[in-house]
């Protein structure tokens, strides 16, 4: 066995472990956070602060039988939850956590992550289609329109950042921002872009991340008040577990990308204690905001969701793209 193959296996194992641990404990954080906002304690019985809740939930899910409904498309039905989890794990391989902590840096990292992320909605479509259930089907239809609508502004804002950095290499993008806190892409004028609309770009990207990960207020795919549980209505056991973990792993990827593209990755403000913890701090602050948003806003309607994207986010991100292009030409 060659050394590179060993490296790859090591990287994938670490990526899976990181994704799974995050997924498990973000569920805990989500439940505790939701509870605090609703002024109740949340899971607090199993272990200190309820910290044993996620492994126990995992055991419970694994002990259950995976029931495949009659008339379902078996292959797609089983493939769907796996598809939900794998893009996130593959993306972890190329995300740089610091100068040295990156499994495999490739010079088109952004392209790779978006390529994998766009297959994520395939899992929703497969699940909805193969379940032979009208609610799941409706959910799959929504998932398609949602991912088409939100991938566009997301990619346009990403192109803006790529233009500023002149590279698709995630490492390079962070290096360009790490000169000082004012060079972070979120800050206007003094940053690399000289574009006053960069904070808006950040917001657009953040909103699209919420929508792409199917988080409330954009969780129309699940919409339990209308569609039972949407695409995972027919899933029990670890099939459901994988969807759940996939959602949280995708959140981590989304927050990682936001950190890298707009918040300077692992670069530290004012040169204080440089290291990977700055990346983790920004990452988990963003994730906390995800949770905070979920428990603040009610779910939008499907029209509201599509209007927001086509009428507001796409025009604004296009304006931003043109403005940035112009400013890069001028300076």
């Amino acid at each position: 066995m060659s050394l590179t193959l060993l490296n790859v296996i090591f990287a994938v194992v670490v990526a899976i472990a990181f994704a799974a641990a995050n997924a498990a404990y973000l569920v805990w954080a989500e439940r505790r956070g939701a509870a605090r906002i609703q002024r109740r304690p949340g899971p607090n019985i199993n272990g200190p602060f309820g910290l044993l809740q996620p492994p126990l939930d995992g055991i419970k899910l694994m002990a259950k039988q995976l029931i495949i409904p009659g008339g379902a498309d078996k292959v797609l039905f089983i493939a769907a939850p796996v598809l939900a989890m794998y893009p996130a794990i593959m993306s972890f391989v190329t995300i740089p956590f610091s100068d040295t902590i990156v499994a495999h840096n490739i010079n088109v990292g952004i392209l790779m992550i978006f390529a994998f992320a766009s297959t994520g909605s395939m899992s929703l479509i497969f699940a909805g289609w193969s379940s032979r259930n009208k609610y799941s089907m409706m959910s799959a239809v929504r998932a398609v329109s949602q991912s088409v609508a939100y991938e566009i502004p997301m990619l346009i804002t990403t192109i803006t950042v790529v233009m500023i950095a002149g590279s698709m290499d995630l490492m390079e993008i962070v290096h360009q921002q790490s000169r000082s806190i004012l060079h972070w892409n979120i800050f206007p004028l003094l940053g690399n872009s000289h574009n006053i609309l960069m904070p808006a770009s950040f917001l657009i990207f953040f909103i699209c991340t919420l929508a792409e990960t199917n988080r409330a207020p954009f969780d129309l795919g699940e919409a339990e008040s209308e569609l039972v549980a949407g695409f995972h209505t027919e899933y029990g056991s670890m099939g459901f577990g994988l969807f759940f973990m996939g959602e949280y792993a995708n959140i981590v990827i989304g927050a990682c990308m936001t950190t890298i593209l707009f918040l300077g990755g692992w670069s530290c403000p004012f040169g204080l204690f440089p290291g990977v913890w700055w990346f983790l701090l920004k990452l988990y602050l963003l994730i906390a905001t995800f949770i905070w948003i979920r428990w603040t806003f009610p779910r939008t309607t499907i029209y509201g969701l599509l209007n927001l994207s086509w009428k507001i986010l796409i025009p604004l991100s296009l304006v931003n793209l043109l403005l940035t292009a112009g400013l890069i030409k001028v300076f």
Binding site: R36, I37, R39, R40, P41, T296
Partner: protein, 146 residues
């Protein structure tokens, strides 16, 4: 065009106002009761199943007049008593309440003129067997005094 940007602006502001509200709630103390680790005292007028009232000696106040049995619209109550030698009053020997049919109407409590019946504050009632809801109130009274 102006309204377009105004809408975006006011929408965005309202989102931040909402987030401020939940942020403040996050740090407030919890308001829920951690049942079964904590319990609330039941309110004065709570109606649990009926219960016998005891006198100072720990014996039921009941004189076995049978009014409650007759007053009950659902025939929940079955009671019996004996008159021991040389005593004036009857002594209660059996008081069975079939709680599966009780509607908590209170007719029994109202009809009792001897201050022998009351509503209990019991609300922890759950079982998988029907028989668990046929209460022997005399037995419960003895158990209470143990």
């Amino acid at each position: 065009m102006v309204t377009y940007f105004k809408d975006i602006y006011s929408g965005l502001v309202s989102l931040f106002i909402g987030m401020e509200v939940t942020f403040k709630e996050f740090f407030k103390p919890t308001v829920t009761v951690q049942y079964p680790y904590e319990t609330l005292t039941m309110t004065e007028r709570y109606r649990g199943h009926v219960e016998l009232i005891e006198n100072d000696e720990g014996k039921p106040n009941c004189i076995v007049c049978g009014l409650c049995q007759r007053a009950c619209p659902s025939a929940c109550i079955t009671l019996a008593g004996v008159k021991p030698e040389g005593e004036k009053k009857k002594v209660l020997t059996k008081y069975i309440l079939d709680f599966t049919r009780c509607s908590l109407c209170g007719s029994c409590v109202e009809s009792c003129n001897f201050n022998a019946l009351e509503f209990s504050k019991e609300y922890n009632l759950a079982s998988t067997r029907r028989e668990d809801f046929i209460f022997d109130l005399l037995q419960r009274l003895e158990d209470r005094n143990k």
